[in-house]
């Protein structure tokens, strides 16, 4: 199976788009057939749909990669699909509100809060789904684990409010953006590829200064992500150094001091 088949060529694709023709190859169907064996398929698709897909894909060969492909250092796959994805996804698609009931980590619960849902987010690290929403009463951005949500009811939202709320969400997100500059210690330049891979899951910009042969990575992230950025920085150890941001530099100093105290140093 070659992912560079000529049938995937961009000119063919764009001509088919002009003609309004749908095309699907045995490669893609084989992939789908393989994925349907995953337990998530039973949750994501109705039994009837699954049965229909089985007939449609009857003659296709699944990709047999299981034996040959090994996963390492993966987080346990707690959750791939969640039953609330369907109603929430539809509310987002219909540009509507939802009334949410949910619990918090400390056991407190909230009932029937009016929420403007804007994205469903899966954390590749925690392997869990979150609903990202705007709290209408508190006028603040929220992130709630789907498994903490007990009830969802879709409610209509006017076209006008929708446009307005979308803009509000974007501007709040923009306000919450932080950035930090990370210097790659020059003696570790040979490990640049590893370091850049580790940060490739962030929005970033890299600067290279030829005279000093130094690389600086400017990461952009939301303020609730600082902890994860710090954990990545500790992960890379001596290879990188935060060169601005008093709060985060202070946290790094605190980590190092406290860690040494654990060892009686």
């Amino acid at each position: 199976m070659n992912p560079f088949e000529k049938i995937f060529n961009h000119q063919i694709l764009s001509r088919l788009e002009d003609a309004g023709t749908f095309m699907v190859t045995a490669h893609e169907r084989g992939w789908l057939k393989t994925m349907l064996r995953h337990p998530a398929a039973l949750e994501a698709l109705e039994a009837e749909t699954l049965a229909r897909l089985e007939t449609i894909l009857e003659q296709d060969q699944p990709l047999d990669t299981q034996e040959l492909l090994l996963h390492k250092a993966a987080s346990k796959e707690k959750q791939v699909y969640h039953a609330l994805l369907r109603p929430l996804r539809r509310a987002i698609m219909n540009k509507n509100f939802v009334r949410l009931s949910y619990g918090l980590k400390n056991g407190r619960g909230f009932n029937e809060q009016t929420a403007f849902p804007y994205k469903l987010e899966y954390s590749m690290v925690k392997r869990e789904w979150y609903l990202l929403w705007y709290h209408m009463r508190y006028r603040t951005l929220m992130s709630t684990k789907l498994h903490k949500i007990t009830e969802v009811h879709e409610e209509p939202c006017s076209e006008e409010s929708y446009e307005q709320l979308q803009a509000t969400v974007l501007s709040l997100l923009e306000k919450r953006k932080l950035s930090v500059d990370i210097l790659v210690e020059r003696q570790y330049n040979a490990e640049l590829s590893r370091i850049l891979y580790a940060f490739s899951c962030f929005e970033k910009e890299v600067r290279y200064t030829e005279e000093s042969d130094e690389y600086t990575i400017r990461l952009s992230f939301l303020n609730n992500e600082s902890e994860y950025v710090l954990s990545k920085t500790r992960f890379l150890g001596k290879r990188v150094r935060l060169i601005n941001g008093d709060y985060m530099r202070g946290r790094m100093l605190e980590s190092a001091t406290k860690a040494l105290a654990r060892y009686g140093e």
């Binding site: 995937f8 000119q11 063919i12 390492k72 040494l260």
Partner: protein
């Protein structure tokens, strides 16, 4: 036509994505081991592909290429790098013909002769008219890749498009399938075929709602999105493993400066390559979730088990078949040696014991949650005082697990082995000096 390799494009895109705008043209070209002229040619070609794939995007004119493919989290639903897999070169006449054939078959089954007529009628005047033999060869190809099907019945055979996937599902069901494909392509491996399918379904759904843009509800946080570049080699390697065949390639260690050597036929432009020509029996492909990197593990006739980063592989070619015994013997050995690898270390196993500290009463125990989630096969035992728990794991060497331990900061203390404990102390001391002066 020589077999088209995408080594140059892959290396090019990887560097562009990782270093996002750090280098000037000259610096970039130097690091790839290509000339500035080749740099310009490659970027022009990639731009062409991108603009034909993403024409619904706002005008890209004047926008820098690096900016075009830069990662923006909120817009990350469509994987930008997928266009690499659309880059296969095709003659204008062939791409024109294949798309005309498919468009003609949309809605009605036709015979080869009817298709020849249809093709000749609609072929642009600038392109040569096809003959029957060419059309038959095209149909054979389309049948082989599973896009069309020969209908049962008397000769002459009729061909039809295989549209069951979109025709036999209701709109509601198709939406569910689309979501499922999106989720699986993003969270599972391999993903390229899933992304291609997602793309096709998406266009179909947009057509069905009168061109209204689709609202993309899903985002995947902390995703290593450049990983799909390495899937370019994946299927060839998996095929070689399945067929017990050796592979040869020119290897560029990612630690070295240059990552690609042009395979020039003009001797004037030949340059010394820094790469190393390797031939191995491939045994396993490993995906490292910690960094989002791929590895090829195999048996080298002289050196035994060898490990390569997929990003360093170029000019990969299949070689001869080996006897099954040789393959299974080495495969078993590798499986055994990998049993305790945090990533791919096949060195001596050691027991690592770590005390983790709970965050304190009333705070959710995110430390334990994370250890249980990411601690692979290690065991967790609560300690009596309730303030901490012990984590114990038998692992090959300590180099690969060390960054993970360090990421917990002061929430843990290495107890064993003593050497690792000492190393942690030294590293924290040094890191402390980075931040003391502010």
């Amino acid at each position: 036509m020589a077999k088209e390799s995408f080594d140059k494009e892959i290396q090019f895109l990887r560097m562009l994505v990782l270093t996002s705008g750090a280098y000037s043209r000259q610096q970039f070209a130097d690091r790839l081991g290509i000339s500035v002229h080749t740099f310009d040619k490659t970027i022009k070609r990639l731009k062409e592909v991108v603009s034909s794939v993403h024409r619904q995007l706002p005008s890209e004119q004047g926008k820098e290429f690096a900016e075009t493919i830069r990662f923006h989290y909120l817009d990350s639903s469509d994987p930008m790098l997928l266009f690499l897999f659309r880059a296969k070169s095709l003659k204008e006449s062939e791409s024109g013909r294949l798309s005309l054939l498919l468009a003609a078959l949309d809605g009605q089954p036709l015979t080869a002769m009817e298709l020849l007529d249809a093709c000749c009628c609609s072929m642009p005047a600038s392109l040569p008219l096809p003959d029957e033999k060419t059309i038959r060869a095209d149909l054979k190809y389309l049948e082989q890749v599973g896009v069309i099907k020969k209908e049962n019945g008397p000769r002459p055979y009729r061909y039809r498009l295989r549209l069951d996937l979109v025709q036999e599902l209701t709109r509601e069901e198709l939406q569910d399938v689309y979501d499922f494909v999106d989720i699986m392509a993003n969270t599972q491996l391999p993903s390229v075929q899933g992304y291609l399918l997602r793309d096709g379904l998406k266009k179909h759904m947009i057509r069905n709602q009168d061109g209204q843009p689709l609202i993309e509800p899903f985002l995947y946080k902390y995703h290593y999105y450049s990983r799909i570049l390495d899937e370019a080699h994946l299927f060839m390697l998996l095929g070689a493993i399945r067929n017990r065949r050796t592979v040869s390639f020119l290897y560029f260690s990612p630690k070295k400066g240059t990552s690609y050597a042009s395979k020039n036929t003009n001797p004037l432009f030949e340059r010394d390559t820094e790469g190393k020509l390797e031939t191995i029996l491939p045994l396993k492909v490993v995906y490292d979730h910690q960094y989002g990197r791929w590895y090829l593990l195999g048996h080298h006739q002289r050196y035994g088990i060898m490990k390569y980063r997929l990003e360093g592989l170029t000019q990969v070619e299949e070689g001869e078949t080996v006897p099954e015994e040789l393959f299974s013997e080495n495969r078993e050995l590798l499986d055994l040696r990998l049993r305790h690898s945090w990533l791919i270390d096949t060195g001596r196993a050691v027991t690592v014991r770590i005390r983790f500290f709970n965050p304190g009463p009333g705070i959710a125990n995110f430390v334990k949650e994370r250890v249980l989630l990411q601690g692979q096969w290690g065991s967790v035992t609560d300690e009596e005082d309730g303030d901490s728990f012990l984590y114990e794991i038998v692992v090959n060497g300590t180099v690969e697990i060390k960054p993970w331990i360090r990421s917990f900061g002061s929430s843990c203390e290495v107890l064993e082995p003593l050497k690792l404990r000492q190393e942690m102390i030294e590293e924290w001391k040094e890191i402390k000096t980075y931040y003391e002066s502010f």
